[in-house]
């Protein structure tokens, strides 16, 4: 219906999508790309595409949150294994060194988890690298250890890789929209 209104009248208005003032000669909004002179169908397609982008943003944020939770989970695993080791090997000489190492690891994963909302890329890449190194060192000391809980390990790594990918997508969408 609005399409029937002569172009000259419509053009003095603001963009229907982002409310930026449009110049009479503009076919598209220069701020958001909305087809000012397009048909209703074109305008609807534009709006639905933007909504899809928002839904994408929602899924990306969800995977990001899962990856952050994975970091917390790892911190918990290290605290737990430190405690278990302490009570099983109480009398051995190197027990303190092992427990302290476990606690330092747990602390690092906790910090990375806590900052994963603010700086997702940095925390997830660091966390993933740390996890892979620990697994590799375990495998060198005890080759069978790599097979232990392999499914959980793959799931953990998968979550973090998906998180890194989502963080990059979010960064891209932010750049496009110029929300710094």
């Amino acid at each position: 219906m609005e399409n029937q209104i002569p172009a000259a009248v419509q053009l003095t208005e603001n963009c229907a999508h982002c409310n930026t003032q449009a110049k009479p000669e503009d076919t598209f909004c220069t701020q958001c790309g909305y087809p000012l002179k397009g048909t209703e169908a074109e305008q609807n397609i534009f709006i639905s595409e933007r909504q899809v982008e928002e839904i994408d943003m929602f899924t990306y944020n969800k995977t990001l949150k899962q990856a952050g939770t994975t970091l917390y989970y790892l911190a918990g695993v290290f605290i737990l294994s430190g405690l278990v080791y302490f009570f099983m090997h109480k009398d051995e000489e190197d027990v303190v060194a092992v427990v302290i190492t476990d606690l330092i690891m747990a602390a690092m994963f906790l910090v990375l988890g806590a900052y994963s909302k603010k700086k997702p890329l940095a925390c997830l890449i660091s966390g993933l690298s740390l996890y892979v190194i620990v697994q590799l060192l375990n495998a060198i000391v005890d080759p069978i250890s790599i097979a232990r809980g392999i499914i959980i390990k793959i799931v953990i790594i998968g979550y973090m890789i998906k998180g890194i990918k989502s963080a990059m997508e979010i960064e891209k969408i932010r750049k496009e929209k110029h929300i710094a």
């Binding site: 330092i104 940095a122 060198i140």
Partner: protein, 252 residues
């Protein structure tokens, strides 16, 4: 004010249809094409860069882990092989991206004062770390002790030790981690995150938990210097002075 007006009247041509637009538009007023092209479709490219960086880091992890935890590799021959693989990886990945990365090899604002300043900061911080470490009674250079034992009794051992603890790490670690890795990360993340990631990865690759307390700040500083000065050479010199001080401590 005058420059703003000047900018507003200046026109740019749409990268898609060639129609002229005002400078600050995000979409072409004629065809609706997005004008800030650098951000678009970069994710695929960035993912590629990240995978490449992961491969680089993977090689380093495997080599470092094997050489420091498997006794079989603790011989002079394997030591040289490890050094060559490390240096080769850094050079290979850097030259693979040569066109985008070569400008860090320039030294645009060379100054003796800065060089001297970085050198003295390096030596001072090494002294500080040395005293803190001996105070809390921790062996920080466990890997370097292993260097000393490997070369002990060889002719010119002191020179070999200086070469392998001060010169080659300064050159190739800087080229690999500050030259290649940090530059890749700068394309992917913002500056702060990129510097942090490169520092964290550099810290944990040394596979020594206790050293992390100084390795990460050390690498953060090097990353910051690399970004600020836009050249890897101040970092190389800083790293060289730092390692040399540590080395002289052991030799003298």
């Amino acid at each position: 004010m005058l420059s703003e007006q000047h900018q507003a009247t200046e026109a740019v041509h749409c990268i898609q249809c060639g129609a002229s637009n005002a400078v600050n538009v995000k979409f072409c007023s004629n065809c609706g094409y997005r004008q800030e092209d650098p951000a678009i479709d970069e994710t695929a490219h960035n993912w590629q860069l990240l995978k490449q960086a992961a491969l680089f880091y993977g090689v380093y992890i495997v080599v470092c882990a094997l050489s420091s935890f498997v006794d079989y590799f603790k011989t002079v021959g394997w030591f040289l092989v490890v050094e060559i693989i490390g240096a080769g990886t850094a050079v290979l990945f850097f030259t693979y991206n040569w066109n985008d990365y070569k400008k860090q090899l320039r030294w645009p604002s060379f100054s003796w004062q800065k060089l001297a300043a970085y050198g003295s900061i390096a030596m001072a911080s090494n002294l500080l770390i040395h005293y803190i470490s001996s105070w809390i009674n921790i062996i920080i250079f466990s890997r370097d002790y292993y260097y000393y034992s490997i070369f002990a009794g060889m002719p010119g051992a002191a020179y070999l030790i200086i070469f392998f603890t001060a010169i080659t790490p300064a050159l190739f670690e800087e080229l690999g981690f500050r030259g290649y890795l940090l530059q890749s990360l700068l394309n992917i993340a913002d500056t702060g995150q990129a510097v942090f990631i490169s520092a964290f990865l550099f810290g944990i690759i040394h596979l020594n938990f206790v050293s992390l307390f100084w390795l990460i700040p050390f690498a953060l500083f090097l990353g910051y210097v690399r970004v600020k000065e836009n050249t890897i050479w101040y970092g190389v010199f800083f790293h060289f002075c730092f390692n040399l001080t540590a080395c002289l401590f052991e030799l003298l």
